[in-house]
């Protein structure tokens, strides 16, 4: 470990948190091996590593979720034992978990203050509860009703609720495990304002993310892990991104530009005409050609996910037609869509993507099980195993075997499993909603390559992403949505500013209706 630098802001030398030589093993998996980490007060310390490197595990140990097998934890230089989340909270350690841990049947405000409800005369004071939650939302510039049930929120909004909840603890140490994975630029900017404010107040922040640009923007130091081991700690400002990446993956990645062929003359594979659904989708029409990747951009809540789900038949639509390869198709459920050759990767892998209790192999095969069925309905597990192994290699899914239960994988690796499921299904038309959510740089590049290859084979692909660079890098064309409407379509080489202009182009009538409702 390099010598600990003095905190630039305070000049204080005792670290707020020290984790030394932490070991942790799960059945069949060595998650951490002599892992180290150090956090100063008033510092944003990025924790980096590939999917499955052990970042979440290390932070779960710090926040009392897991117990460590070996190693020391020091707080303000004093050795401590952290045995429960409650104890971590009492020590001033707060965490935003990577896998959202919300109570779906409760409201946003009830979630935020769970365990610390304001009371009057011994009874719950819902008024105060909602006011307090509203105050936090206001401080985050977040427009959200405290009384909305989190189950009805999109994953991005749920993420914002988690952030609000973590802020409400006023912790000295705040761990953020991929807080921006589901967020859009605007919300990320908002989050960074908050982080800077906390930093100024002397809070130590652990920041985990796979978005490399954020690391430069927000962090002071970067610690890199690989395979559960400590690789090194470097100052963020004067370390090139390439160096950090090579520390993460153990080699240098070449960032090849993707060649984007012209598809303007190819036949239209999917056409959506005048799609409507309540207030979320208003008269959306779009089309994708064979061999084309259409990026779908927009701010949080623009309705992109809603459009995708409506096309896929996951939600009923009020009106609108769907045409595949020039033929109108009736889609009223996902099975119709899949039969018509459409696949949809959900943005919410935990609830809509992964059968968490099944193993990796069966999750990958879930949408294509018929392929492995022999006479008498008997499954050919050998063939399934071979296919699963292929994807495990191709997407470098970190798992002890293809028989590991999906829920035991790290977040990014779970995402890869869901992607593999749709790659295996081999649909003519693929709708990928936030496909690289939580995926590390190396694997991201691999997925971009795969998507490109699929397009070259003549597949039509729609990519919904909150990361503009991703949209710009992948898309032949970019459609932009705002408040349920399609506000414009741009060519692949469009600038970020053009996209943002369309993404915020809200017709006054729309705004009125929205606020009235």
């Amino acid at each position: 470990m390099p010598p600990t630098p003095a905190n630039p802001a305070t000049g204080q030398l005792t670290p707020l948190v020290e984790m030394i030589d932490i070991d942790k093993a799960f059945p069949g998996v060595r998650a951490l091996s002599r892992a180290r980490f150090e956090l100063m007060a008033g510092e944003v310390h990025a924790l980096m590593g590939e999917n499955g490197a052990g970042k979440s595990t290390l932070m779960k140990i710090l926040s009392g979720v897991y117990s460590r097998d070996a190693g020391d934890i020091r707080l303000d230089g004093q050795p401590v034992e952290i045995t429960s989340p409650r104890q971590a909270q009492d020590m001033g350690i707060g965490i935003i978990h990577q896998e959202l841990a919300l109570m779906r049947d409760l409201t946003a405000a009830q979630n935020i203050f769970i365990g610390r409800e304001p009371r009057r005369f011994g009874l719950l004071d819902e008024g105060a509860l909602n006011r307090d939650a509203q105050a936090i939302f206001d401080s985050m510039n977040l427009k959200l009703e405290p009384t909305v049930r989190v189950e009805t929120l999109t994953i991005a909004r749920q993420q914002m609720v988690e952030i609000a909840k973590a802020l409400s603890y006023r912790s000295r140490v705040l761990i953020m495990d991929e807080p921006t994975a589901a967020l859009n630029d605007a919300e990320i900017a908002e989050l960074f304002t908050i982080i800077n404010r906390l930093k100024a107040e002397g809070v130590g922040i652990v920041y985990i993310s796979h978005k490399m640009d954020e690391i430069k923007r927000i962090s002071d130091r970067v610690t890199v892990m690989r395979d559960g081991e400590y690789v090194g700690t470097v100052p963020a400002a004067d370390t090139p991104i390439e160096t950090i990446i090579s520390m993460m993956v153990g080699r240098t990645l070449t960032n090849e530009a993707l060649n984007i062929p012209n598809t303007a003359s190819a036949p239209v594979a999917l056409e959506v005409r005048n799609l409507n659904r309540g207030r979320d989708i208003r008269d959306v029409s779009l089309s994708v050609r064979k061999g084309e990747i259409l990026g779908l951009a927009g701010l949080m809540g623009a309705g992109r996910t809603e459009v995708a789900r409506a096309i896929f038949g996951a939600d009923p639509r009020d009106s609108g037609e769907i045409w595949v390869n020039g033929k109108r198709v009736g889609i009223s459920s996902p099975k119709d869509a899949v039969r018509a050759g459409i696949g949809y990767l959900s943005e919410d892998r935990k609830h809509f993507g992964l059968a968490t209790g099944l193993d990796v192999r069966n999750n990958i095969a879930l949408a294509s099980l018929e392929r492995f069925v022999g006479p008498g309905g008997v499954i050919n597990d050998g063939a399934m195993h071979d296919v699963a192994e292929k994807f495990i290699r191709q997407l470098s899914i970190k798992t002890p075997s293809d028989a590991q239960e999906a829920r035991l994988l790290s977040g990014g690796n779970q995402q890869k499993v869901v992607i593999a499921k749709w790659l295996l299904r081999d649909c003519d038309i693929l709708i990928f909603d936030e496909p690289t959510r939580g995926i590390d740089v190396g694997a991201k590049a691999e997925i971009y390559k795969l998507l490109n290859a699929l397009a070259e084979q003549g597949r039509a692909i729609i990519v919904i992403s909150s990361e503009l660079p991703e949209i710009l890098r992948l898309s032949h064309r970019i459609a932009v949505m705002c408040e349920g409407r399609l506000t414009g379509t741009l060519p692949g080489g469009a600038s970020q500013e053009e996209i943002m202009r369309l993404a915020t182009m809200r017709p006054s009538t729309v705004a009125e209706v929205h606020h009235a409702g």
Binding site: V65, S84, P85, R86, A88, Q89, D90, H97, A101, L102, M103, R104, D105, L106, Q110, I114, G115, E117, R119, G122, L123, L124, R149, E151, T152, K165
Partner: protein
């Protein structure tokens, strides 16, 4: 379990949902209308009181089950716990000859204590609620027989004991409404339970546990303690049911109670509470319990042969719940 309840019905007491709640009565109202037309005897005061009286014990048990089911658990022991509490009351009042208030306290304490034990086995030993309460059901069933010597214990020496369920405090004030105390007690228990669920920390954690237990734990809440508290509260409510049934029969019948858990859970589920936890209402449970007893009473009043009563009950339970699902979907 598959959750088929729509977002609209949910936690606690809330005024905004009042209209919605009213609609939920529709299945019940349809039954009442049909039976009223079919038989002139159905809507007579005496019969209405008989229906309410028949609802009281199952209603109270169902409220206990509601609390537990909202946490995502299940309580199979409600029926035999009720009996056990009745037997304890019998021991206190008849065998020991202690005064009535002590008998009442004993019943509720015994219920709470047994709930505490179930809750502890579930929370601390991590035994699934189904097994823990199945075990409790059998243990209590046996103990009731042991303690009572397999004989009913009569309350003949405690005059006024049968007034707990059969008297009518309301009737003494408003002679026109001779509401039996048993029914009054059911309503009071329902109000209290709705209040606890909607307004107290215990209620909040009840919903939270059923919604995502792990998330509650990660939020630093002592989930064991609250879970135990829920089972203990449910146990106490079963103690009330024990008093009701003992008072109604003027005796503690030690062999009764098994099988009652199914009716209680059925009332809860008919009332729209999901067995997967996280959502549920006391008023829904009351409606569910009423549907069950209106159905039983109505079919009897119409002199439907007993084997057909069973068939029709099964059909109507499915239809009532389906109607409720349709209503929510179109809302």
């Amino acid at each position: 379990m598959t959750d088929t309840t729509a977002p609209a019905t949910k936690s606690g007491v809330r005024i905004s949902g009042a209209f919605h709640r009213l609609l939920a009565f529709s299945g019940l109202i349809a039954l009442i209308v049909v039976f009223s037309i079919a038989s002139p005897n159905f809507m007579q005061t005496q019969n209405v009181l008989a229906i309410l009286q028949a609802t009281s014990v199952n209603g109270v048990l169902a409220i206990a089950a509601t609390l537990v089911i909202i946490t995502g658990g299940i309580d199979l022991s409600v029926g035999t716990l009720m009996t056990f509490c009745a037997v304890i009351t019998g021991v206190v009042l008849t065998y020991l000859g202690l005064p009535l208030p002590l008998g009442i306290v004993a019943s509720i304490l015994a219920g709470t204590a047994c709930g505490l034990v179930s809750g502890t086995i579930i929370a601390k030993l991590k035994v699934p609620p189904f097994i823990a309460t199945l075990g409790m059901m059998l243990i209590l069933k046996g103990l009731s027989l042991v303690i009572s010597g397999t004989k009913p214990i009569y309350f003949n020496d405690t005059p006024g004991f049968n007034q707990i369920a059969l008297g009518s405090w309301v009737g003494t004030i408003f002679p026109a409404v001779p509401l039996p105390n048993g029914v009054l007690i059911l309503f009071v228990v329902a109000l209290l339970a709705a209040f606890v669920l909607g307004k107290t920390q215990l209620g909040r954690y009840t919903f939270a546990l059923g919604s995502n237990e792990e998330a509650v734990r990660l939020s630093g809440v002592n989930i064991d303690r609250w879970k135990i508290a829920v089972y203990a509260t449910a146990g106490g409510i079963c103690g009330v049911a024990g008093l009701l049934i003992a008072s109604r029969l003027n005796s503690a019948q030690p062999a009764l109670g098994q099988g009652y858990e199914l009716d209680a859970i059925a009332a809860v589920v008919i009332g729209g509470t999901s067995l997967s936890g996280g959502r549920g209402t006391v008023i829904g449970t009351l409606i569910g319990a009423l549907i069950i007893s209106v159905l039983a009473n109505g079919l009897r009043i119409l002199s439907v042969p007993q084997e057909w009563q069973t068939v029709v009950t099964g059909l109507i339970i499915i239809l009532a719940v389906y109607a409720d699902i349709l209503r929510r979907r179109t809302l």
